[in-house]
Amino acid sequence: MLGRTIFIDPGRCIGCQACVSACRECDSHRGKSMIHLDYPDEGHSVASLPSVCMHCEDPVAPCAEVCPADAILITADGVVQQADATRCIGCANCVNACPFGIPKIDLDAKLQMKCNLCYDRTAYGLAPMCATVCPTGALFYGTLEELQAERPGVDVSTAFAFGPVTVHTGVAMVVPAEQRTSVPGGLPIIEVNGRPTPGNGAPA
């Protein structure tokens, strides 16, 4: 069961980069944005896709697993924090390990930085800045029930296949409507890298 988390719905994204600007405004990132905006179909359509840290649960945070300095901490509620500045050596192992391409390295400061789910806000019951301001709801913060109450019929996936490995995440992705075909057991299917993957956080 998903708790309060971010749900990403690329179908609603208008590419405005309000999330990017808002992330810069978040006190914990002090003027630096941790969000990527990708354009998956450049030249053909204006489609865009916001990428935040997916807060991987299984395997637990590949970025943290490979960190030789034990700089990346994971809280009890599953939030993968940005690197501890007093420990990080800027080696970029985490960048190479992340299947979603999220962490950034500040080369001069030799410091990794990434989305920490606005821990300074969520710890006080506020939504992360990106999901708070997103004008379209492409980034939504709340529970699955709250999302489904607002968007009837929506399905989400927290399982993503990368070759032979399936990664289960704490942040969920909305399954595109055309891929919401039921399979035995009633689970929706999302295709990642050409491989069908069951959604709703169910095991692969």
């Binding site: 405005c16 309000a18 600007s21 810069r24 030249g43 950034k104 390295i105 001069d108 004008p135």
Partner: protein, 766 residues
Amino acid sequence: MSDRFDRVDPVIAPPGTRRFRDAGGLPADRWRADQTGERLVPTHCCFCGVQCGMYLRVNGAGQVFGVEPRNHDINRMRLCPKGINAYQQVNHPDRLTAPLLRRTRTEPFREVTWEEALSYTVSEIRRIQGEHGADSFGLLGGASLFSEKTYLVGKFARVALKTRHVDYNGRLCMVSAAGANKLAFGIDRAGNPFSDILQTDCLLIAGSNVGECFPVMTQYVWGARDRGAKLIVVDPRETAVARTADVHVALKSGTDSVFFNALLNVVIEDGLTDEAFIAAHTTGWAEVKQTVKAYPPSRAAEVCGIPESQVVQVARMFATAHRAMAWHARGIEHHTQGVENCLSVINLCAATGNLGEPGRGYGTITGQGNGQGGREHGQKSDLLPGGRSISNPEHRRQIAEIWGIEEAELPKAGTSMMEMVWQMQRREIRGLIGLCNNPFVSLPNYATVKDGYDTLEFHAQLDFFLSETAANAHVVFPVTTWAEDEGVMANAEARVVKHNKAQEPPPGVRTDTWVLCELARRLGVGEKFDFPGSRELFDELRLASAGTVNDYFGITYERLEQTGGIAWPCPTLEHPGTPRLFEGGKTYHPDGKVHLQTVEWHPPADPYSEEYPMTLTTGRTVAHFLSGNQTRRLGALVEQTPRPWVEVHPSHGFRNGDPVRVVTRRGSQVLPALVTEAIRADHVFVPYHWPYPVAANALTVDALDPRSKIPEYKVCAVRIERAASLDEVPAPPTPPGRTAYPEAQASRTDPLPPTSPQGRGTAERG
């Protein structure tokens, strides 16, 4: 999608560099977490007509230093990138803090005292009007001013300057829709609140790039989609919202009324009209019915360049929906038939009975923050406060009485903003005061505009940054931002909201109200301009609007602070306001009916030829606002969209980033190509926020709609050709008065093109 190893790059500025703020924004030596004694001031965004609620973060020293989302009815915490970064202009290093003066344009500006700037201005007003009459001096206002100030601009022109030449930059925004609404409904505003969109079953959006121009409004569009509403988008470009539509009608720019007439033709042929509604609530139906016979789907297919089946499909989708709604913006309004285009949409809504209910209705989406309120209280050349006509003797008498002058002293109607420029060229207007506008970037046909302004004997401009237009003036008065004063604005729903003062203005800066009242005092009419602040102005505005259609009498600052805003008309202190018009089919004409108007299409003003075979259309990007005088100085927004480009279809053989020369009958310029299938092959698109030599408005035509006098920004004839090299692509000029930041300069002079159509060149991709 980018390779993940792209991420290992120095996009994060090293400590101390503070790249985004160095490019304009907060001083580099401060960050919000260092601020103490923070308080939040509830207010609204200064930019577009959505008017999102926000908190400005103010530190213990009383300075604005950040923004926090606000759960206001309109935006429910949402903000777009412009709104998030808006606060950075309040304490921006480019702020003007002393009056500037020069007696000829060949001299450099020198900082002078307020006394010298004011007395020189008054002496020039007296000299020019003494030699050439009162009408030789003009006043141009703006639709980002608070309504109180727009009221003051109209009163100052008529009572202090005694000139008929006053107009405002809302003339470039929403006047076509306003004209159509007035003709059809007898009232000049959108019919429904945004929240009604959530109830519709079929939403038609025409000529509006909602995703980029009104991003926060998208939540209502997606909200309707969540309920299963059908979405129809009419636009030559596949915008972010069009991408997800059930039907995207990619028609040729300038053919909208053919399309809407053809929709009505199909609706009539299929027997899908709401005859009961038409009979009870409309006039002129027989003539409209007759006119649209000449617009079968086959004609629309031919003229608009779209499949005939699409016309039939859209007509049936709209007419058979239980509740249908149409919203439009500048895409159908910036035309020489802008009023007619809007009327053709109204005809469709009325004929299908879609008016005056949640989910059923009609709306226009205001571009500027106060595009709605900006024209309601006398800033427009033909209007007096309360939307009264300056040509109506009774209306003139009422306002003359409130202003304490004789009716005969009130000047007659003046001309529109573009016509005033032509009058400057003819030396009929020799002196001008401008505030809250930047015509050097925002008016069409730049060469004509520059010529007109260069001909002026005296030009004063009020602004908080040195705009391209202010840089051409003789006197520049430094005035406040929206965060340093209080006042009301009416958003696209005609919901009046209150902006609150968050900080004291910097030393040397005065409010626009103070400047105009002081000028009036020196012109000898000070007793009629005794307005210490916005509250006194608002109280006079309320009185001046009482009893009109645009009735603000029941709206007070206190009520606005206790509510999420009040929609006018609001005639009494107990009245709840009027969020939704036309309930029960009743309009504001004396007979209470919708006056349907016939619409005949005519081609755009700038004819196509062998030399100019294609269509140029212009518009906004999400990161910038209007002339960019504000947003082109904010680092995050400059990095998001550093330069203009020309959007071309792949069929022309260009590759992304190729230098393309765009040529119209007014001029040419070289821009980097952004090659995308998201635009019609016979169209090119250039965003208009930048000044000459990369100004879209150096290319556009200054033809006007004969009724609304709005320029035809959205269509002119063009040809494109390959330029020799990227060296021919000029860098966007640095904004006038720019504080020098080496890194910021470098990011703007880079000749590389944008990398993606939506979002258009991001900081992430350098």
